[in-house]
Amino acid sequence: MKTLVIAEHNGENLSAATLSVIDAAKKLGRDIDLLVASNSSSNVLEEAKVVEGVSTILDFSHEKFENEIAEDIAACVVSVKDSYDFFLASSSTSGKNNLPRAAALLDIQQISEVTEILDDKTFKKPIYAGSCIATVQSTQEKNALTIRTTSFEKTGTSGGSASVETKDVPDSNSRKSDFVKNELTVSDRPELTAADIVVSGGRGMQNGENFALLEAVATKLNAAVGASRAAVDSGFVPNDYQVGQTGKSVAPNLYIAVGISGAIQHLAGMKDSKTIVAINKDEEAPIFKVADYGLVADLFEALPDLESKL
């Protein structure tokens, strides 16, 4: 039996999340195949072929994969189910949307947000917003895992030589949903979950305009910009900035939390960062408990100062 990884991509490039899922898949000790559902004109296959650690690419090519619909991806997974006893995706919004649908069709109780693979039945995963870590064991012959990508390395993007198997694409005749449109955030900055440095703002930023102060620091550091749920809820920035239990999990080399108090929901999404800096005027703020370097200061003075010294 083999491991099937569901590839994520933007139509051109394989996502960094998929590289981490492949790294996690290696720990299961099986051959790894990569399911790529893409528009046939896409470049993703070329990229996927040379990724390190992949045996075979399952090539599902069809123009409908220009946009990803969970019903279609689940149907692809089901169509190849017999060769696999592991089905893996990342815990991105794509993996979270697709994999449970496929798992239910295969009668598998999925294990979500896996942070450690102890053996091929035993896994660690955070629960209660990361307040606790559960070690769980599956009694199933086949398993489906979403992988918390920040807990794994990324497999190499070169040196591989996977073969490509063209697959019949299951039809979508019975599908009752259709793609309408995308409104993707356009940014020159690195992607939040893949950035080396993340600068995040919280309620202390007071409004959306003040995020310009953060952006200036982020530009100097080539960092991604994130936010706490409080900042998103207050409408300062869009939801895709959100770091935390209900947003994204990040684990950059450097995380700078500005005007963020450090609610458990936020810590859940960033406390695996290598170095954490907190800038907050309230010296009692819980964020200082997880920070390697804390600066008690007014962020409206500290941020321009920081920018000028970088």
Partner: protein, 249 residues
């Protein structure tokens, strides 16, 4: 139009949950329980659709012991019309929950099934997608906007790169994200009225559900604590530490 809202009883989101002494599970004794925040958003969305004249009936359902009546009564006080309790002392995992809900759906039918995207206890984020798969319904997860037009529902979804809009033919399954709406509070008169609204009990046996719980919890522990670091005096010192001590910039 009829809306079915599955809800979950979880710890209050302000409570920090800890492992029990034996590290076999979490310790929920003396922890305040509440409706899962994402389920509150699902209930609110249904009420808004009813207020807008798009929905006629809102049915809430949950699975669990008698204590789960509290959360069903809360939903009734907010504006749901009737409630179903699938009574069991067992704690079901998402696949079994989805199977149970599929049986309830078979019995009740509905034009829309709206539920929270994730329970803040297990952090699974599975049940809505699994339920949609088992009932062969279209799914629109992580919704931040819902618009019903005739027999279609258009849903804006929160995805990692921004927003995506899907259109689904009803019946359809929607899971809620944070920004969909701001749930209201129940008024005292409505809380009183809710006590007289119908709450029906069902059993797993009569729904013909076989609970399998195919994943066992071996251990629950606290995550490794991060060492509290140092306070720096000023920005200059901070930059110096980042450059020369942490070597991250």
């Amino acid at each position: 139009m009829k809306i079915l809202i599955p809800i979950k009883r979880v710890n209050d989101y302000n409570v920090k949950v800890r492992p029990n002494q034996a590290n076999t599970d979490v310790d929920l004794s003396n922890v305040k329980m509440a409706m899962n925040p994402f389920c509150e958003i699902a209930v609110e969305e249904a009420i808004k659709l009813k207020e807008a004249g798009k929905a006629d009936e809102i049915v809430v359902v949950t699975i669990g012991d008698d204590k789960h009546q509290e959360q069903l009564r809360t939903a009734l006080a907010l504006g749901a019309d009737r409630a179903l309790l699938v009574k069991t002392d067992k704690t079901l995992q998402p696949l079994d929950v989805a199977k149970t809900l599929a049986k309830v759906y078979e019995k009740e039918s509905a034009d829309l099934v709206i539920m929270g995207k994730v329970g803040i206890d297990g952090d699974h984020n599975q049940t809505g997608q699994m339920f949609a798969a088992l009932t062969n319904l279209p799914q629109a997860t992580f919704a931040s906007e819902v618009e019903v037009n005739g027999n279609h529902v258009q849903v804006t979804r929160e995805i990692d790169g921004g927003l995506e809009t899907l259109s689904a033919e009803m019946p359809a399954v929607i899971t809620t994200d944070l920004r969909l709406n701001e749930p209201r509070y129940a008024s005292l008169p409505n809380i009183m009225k809710a006590k007289r609204k119908p709450l029906e009990e069902l059993s797993l046996d009569e729904l013909n559900v076989n609970v399998e719980n195919k994943v066992t919890t071996l251990k629950v522990e606290s995550p490794p604590e991060r060492q509290e670091g140092v306070k720096v005096e000023n920005v200059e010192q901070l930059v110096d530490k980042l450059k020369n001590e942490a070597k991250v910039i």
